[in-house]
Each structure stands twice: as structure tokens, then as C-alpha cells.
Amino acid sequence: MKKILAVILAAMIAAYVCGCSKNLGQTNKADIPELVWYVPGSKQADMELVKEKINEILVPKIGATLDIQFIDDGAYQERMNMNMASGTVFDLCFCGYVNVYYDCIRQGGIIPLNDLINKEAPSLLKALPQYLFDAATVNGKIYAIPNNQIMAQNIALSFQKKLVDKYSYNLSDVKRNGDIEPFLKTIKDKEPDLYPFNGGTSVRINLWSMDKYENAYIGLNCLWIDKSDEQCKVIKRYDTKEFLEGIHTLRDWYNKGYIRKDVTSATGASDSQYAVSAIFNKPGLEQELEKKLGIELDTVNLYKAHMTTQGCIQTMTGVSATSKNPEKAVKIIEQVNTNAELYNLIVYGVEGKHYTKINDKYIKVIPESGYSDSGAWKFGNQFNAYITEGKPENVWEETQKQNDEATKSKLLGFAFNTKKISSEIAQCVSVTEKYSAIEDGSVDVDTFLEKYIQEMEDAGINIVKAELQSQIDEFLANKK
């Protein structure tokens, strides 16, 4: 008995040691460095093949090879935290809505790129619009390059077409969201299987406020500025009449049955259950949603698109502090953003094997071919990518136009430094989440609002507001 165990033990140790040495037995070609780029997404089966082709283009141009590593979306945040915390050597990483840009900067995970771009990748400056660089600037330095895609938000209402036709609803009557109330009533009375209104998890109160106000600090959805205010005075949202109008209307709609009763706790129900949904819109979205839900939609844009810093920093590429080849890393970013052939290779794979070209602009992705659409917005300028079937032909032009023509926030490039007031922020976050139901109409507004305001004041919202204001003032002063 003991002997068997001893043998097993010995075998284990042997196996372990062997496994160990495998890790160490890797050789690198001395003069051509390999750069590693971490990106969220599912692993691609044909990655090796695509990698070969990528390097065929890259090596002659910049003398380096690229290894794109996909990390599962759900694990990406945690993994990147660990990678950076443990000092893992890598070169490029996606940062934005996950692996948050400001956190990376604060924790020292990515490096400033200004000098590197000027020296090594000057054409990047011309390839991307100036407002992107403005938005990404933190204290005068840029730490990552935004991957150009839809940046400016604009709010829309999405109607199910068959209902619009059935009840002969005139969409051009809809100028403000309040205008849809008669339609909601019709749906409530005549279509018991559907929910009339969906405020969504992110739009909600913005429906009433977004044409006038902008959220000055995204961590708390409470401090706003008037978009037209040159001095950017910070206002508490519950001091604005638009906010009050909004929550009263939502509550009214909830009571009338236009909003589902379990709105606070409902899981992501299918959009096809709602007659009208409030959404953030971009060109081509209607087609995408139609394809996904299998029903026809009509979208009405409500407000002019507006670009905020937050909107621009959702998808970016940064260079790691542990990178041994930051110059080459920046050159890769330049290539990805300017070389359409390389870019489409990364996004869609090899022509013929993973997709077929329909014409110069359109392609058809071949499903189950070993490489699927890896997400253009994860790597570079989305507008350089081929258009997949189903999207309108001018989708990139329209998107670019929406970006260019959007009103720009005066706070582009402003980042709120919360270090001095961390505990007040923590408290305010807690209150905000505690009272988040105020935005979905499920609670009695008057009593709730009073408590919300009281607790926010107690939590120190005024301290946060004062700090935010002083930092904004300093930012504006420096801008001149």
C-alpha cells in the first residue's frame, strides 16, 4: 500500500518537472521581436494561419511579428488586472469599457504615447480626427489610441414597424419622447401580450435630459452640466426640471401600465416584447437589430448627437508599461489604423477561406470557417473595415458624419481625479445604486425622491460637486 503511494508520488513529481521545463524551452528569434496584443473575445481556431499572413505584411514594414491573444470577454478585466499587477511582459492591450482606460493610467499599466507617436508613427495624427486625441488626453498626455467607431451618442426611439403600420401611427409627429404617450396607450389597450415601453438599462432618464445636459462624472449619474454653458457649472441632476419631469413621467407610465411591473429586477428580456424601446443610436443599428430580433423596426432620432469624453474612450488600444518594444508597438497601431489590408485580415481573416468578397466594399463572412468576425472596434479604425452583409452601404460614411457633426463636449479630455474624495465617492455610489429604481418608474416618486436627495446630501455630494467644479475650472483655464 505504501509502496504504491510512493510510486504515485514519484510519478507526480516527475510529471511536474517535465511540465515545468516545457514552459522554459522556448527560443526567440533574436532580431525580430514578437509583440503580444491582448484583446477581449473568443479564441479563433485558425489563428495561426491568420497570424502567418499578418506577419507577412508586418515584418517587411516594421520588422516585428504580432501575436494576437484573445481572452474571453468575461475574464478580460480580471486577467488584464492580473497581467498588469504581476508585471507580465506584453506590448499592446485593448482598454476602454473593460480594462478601463483611466484605471490603467492611474495604476501605471500603460505608458504615455505623445513622444512615441510624434517620432515613430506620425501618420496616425493625420489618420484620426483631432477630437479623438483631445478626448483621450489626460493631463496633457495620451495613453492610448481610440479605435475610431461610433463615438457620439444620440438617442432614438425604436418602434416595431408592424405595430406602427397596424395603428397607422404617424412617426413624424414624434418630436419629443413625451409625444409617444398616445401610442403607448393604444398598445396597452389593444396588445396585451406586449409591453408598451422599454426605457432600457442605460437610456432611461437621458430621454428627457440629454438634449440639454451632459453627465459630468460618469461614476455617479448625478452631476450634470448644461451643454451650452461656457463655464461648465456643475449642477445636481435633481435640481433640474428635466430630471423631475422625467421621473414623474416614468412613474406615470408605470402606473398606467406602459412599463412592465417587474422592471427593476427583470432579466434581459428580448426586445421583441416591447413596442417602443429607447436606445442609443448609430447608423446601421436598425438593420443590425432587425437581423437579430427578426422583426422590422422604425427608428426616430430624437436629439442631435453629442460627443463626450466617455463616448470616445470606450474602445482604445494602449501600450503596456512592461513592453520591451514600445516603438514597434506604436508602429503596429499606426499600421492597423492606416493599412486596410492588414486591418481586414485581423478582423475577418483570410479572403476566400473565411469570407468572400462581394464587391469592393461588401463581404460575406463564411460561418464555421475557423475565423469569425473578431470585432473591428477592438483593433483600430472601424471605418476602414469591409462592410458585412446587411449593413447599409454608406454605414461608415454616415457614422463618421455623425461623429464629425456631433456637438462636442467642452469637457473633452477632462478626467476627474477622485483620490482626495474616495470615501465620499464610495458613499455616493452606494446611494445612487440604492435609489437607482427612481429612474425606472417602479417607486413612488415623491417619497423616494425626498429620501434620495437627503441621503445624497448626507453622503457628501456637495463635497464631490465642489471638487469636480474646481477641477473643471482648472481644466478650462488650461485649455485656453
Binding site: M1, G19, E78, Y97, T267, F280, L289, D373
Partner: protein
């Protein structure tokens, strides 16, 4: 006689009732997994599927190779961890059960301290990847947490209950610590060792966090992590607040409610099937012959 039968029946009914209450959600789970997606969205969960539909399972088994592989890997490291864990933990539990051992309290505290204090995620990660090179190997599933103070103390308590006379009788025959351990203690402790083995097996079987953090190679991914991956994508979407992102996130594939349930069944099912194997070790009483005094 009659009284006994009646009280037995009452007990059985009570237990049966309890079992039904407890298992009800699981039955719901199975039912949802065999339902049509649109029924769930329109009517919610129901105990009997309105329309019997195996679409969810078809989706889950779409990539059978990944699933089969995950099963293989998970079974391998779960069984390995279970065997090694029980073995090593009973060693230290026995040592701790010896009241005559010098420094026993120190050893006990040494072990217990680790239950409360741990360095946190970052130092552990650094140790495992930078110094031990355990990432992307099967050992990262097995080695950490092999010695769980919780179970060690449980086993030790059980060992305390084994009468001293039995160990003495071995000594008389010229045995030493090892003989006592292997010849007396282990064989008599089947119930508690089986319990710990079961718990350890299940803990490893359900482990998804390790895979998420340390595994990159697809062929080393654990079963629970496959499920968790899908569920996490959904959580991610629901937690996002930013408009620009929510519209771009529509490009991600969101699996249906029924698929989530199906995956849960696929993952939990085998563990339940395994349980009866452990049950046969729950044998009543000490069955060593010849040591009655």
C-alpha cells in the same frame, strides 16, 4: 411494533415532502431547458414545458469536442485532487489528533491561520505564474487548496473519537505511527473520508475561477468555466452603462434562457450521478472485529 411502523411512515412522509420542496427548483431547471425559448419569454417558467424542445441542448452540444474535452479534464483533476487531498489531509489530521504530541497546538494554529488570512488575489497570482509556472497546466487545478483546514479539522474531530485501545493493540504487535495510521485509522474512518472526498471532488468539479484566471489553452478549460463563460458575457452586458458601448455590444451573441438552463443541467448532472458511489461508504459503526474488551 405497530408504533414503530407508524413513526417510520411519518418520518418518511416528512422527508419526502422536504425533498420535493428542495428539488422543485431543479425540476424547474430541467423543464425550462427542454422548453421552447419563446414560451419562456412569454409565459415564464413552468413545471411542465409548454412545448417540448431540445433546441437548447442542440446549441450546447454544437461544439461537442469542447464539451467532451472539458469533461475529461475536469474529471481528471477532480479525481486527482480528491485522492491526493483526502490522503494528505488525513495525514495532518491524524498528527493533530494525537493529544500527546509536543507542539500540537502550534501546528493547529499554523493550519488554522491560513483559513482566515490570505494574501489576496494578486500575490497568489504572482506566485502561481511567475514563480511556480503553474498556469496553463493541470496542476493549477489540483495543488492549491489541497489542504483545506476546514476538512482537516473535521477529520481530526472524527479521529479523536477512535478509541485509544485500538492504537495500543497495534503497538503491542510492534507497530509504529505509520502502521497505526494505515492499518487502523484509515480503514475505520470510511464515512468521514468519503464525505471529505465527496466535498473535495465537488469543489473541484464546480471550479470555474481557476480556469478563468490561469488557463489560456482551450484544451485545459474546465467544465464549469464553459458554462460560466456564457453567463459572464450576459452579466457584462447588463452591467454596462455607456450608450456607445451598449449599441456596439449588440454584436455579441446572447444565448437564450433555455440554453443557460441546459448548460446548468449538463454540468450539474454528472455530479449528482456520482453521489451514490460515495453513499456506500456511509457504513454504520466501527466494524473491526476482535478488539472488544
Amino acid at each position: 411494533m405497530y408504533k414503530k411502523a407508524v413513526s417510520q411512515t411519518i418520518l418518511k412522509i416528512a422527508l419526502a415532502l422536504l425533498a420535493v420542496l428542495i428539488i422543485y427548483p431543479f425540476i424547474l431547471l430541467v423543464s425550462v431547458s427542454f422548453s421552447a425559448e419563446k414560451d419562456i419569454l412569454s409565459y415564464g417558467y413552468s413545471i411542465i414545458p409548454k412545448t417540448f424542445d431540445v433546441e437548447a441542448y442542440r446549441y450546447v452540444f454544437k461544439n461537442p469536442m469542447a464539451l467532451v474535452n472539458a469533461y475529461k479534464v475536469t474529471t481528471l483533476f477532480s479525481v486527482a485532487a480528491m485522492c491526493l487531498g483526502v490522503f494528505f489531509m488525513s495525514m495532518i489530521a491524524y498528527v493533530l489528533s494525537r493529544k500527546d504530541l509536543r507542539g500540537r497546538n502550534v501546528l493547529s494554529f499554523f493550519l488554522y491561520f491560513t483559513m482566515l488570512f490570505n494574501g489576496g488575489l494578486v500575490p497568489t497570482y504572482i506566485l502561481m505564474t511567475k514563480y511556480l509556472y503553474l498556469n496553463d497546466t493541470i496542476w493549477v487545478y489540483i495543488l492549491p487548496g489541497l489542504i483545506s483546514p476546514w476538512y482537516v479539522f473535521m477529520i481530526r474531530t472524527f479521529f479523536n473519537g477512535i478509541p485509544a485501545e485500538l492504537s495500543e493493540s497495534v503497538r503491542i504487535d510492534g507497530g509504529n505511527v505509520y502502521t497505526i495510521f494505515f492499518k487502523i485509522i484509515i480503514p475505520l474512518s470510511k464515512p468521514v473520508l468519503a464525505t471529505v472526498a465527496l466535498f473535495l471532488f465537488l469543489a473541484k468539479w464546480n471550479d470555474w475561477y481557476t480556469a478563468m484566471l490561469y488557463i489560456n489553452k482551450e484544451n485545459l478549460v474546465s467544465l464549469q468555466y464553459l458554462l460560466q463563460r456564457i453567463l459572464q458575457n450576459i452579466q457584462l452586458l447588463q452591467n454596462l452603462n455607456y450608450g456607445a458601448v451598449s449599441s456596439l455590444m449588440n454584436e455579441l451573441d446572447i444565448p437564450a434562457e433555455t440554453v443557460r438552463m441546459a448548460m446548468a443541467v449538463v454540468v450539474a448532472g454528472p455530479a449528482l450521478i456520482v453521489f451514490p458511489f460515495f453513499q456506500k461508504y456511509f457504513v454504520r459503526g466501527l466494524t473491526v472485529g476482535g478488539v472488544k474488551g
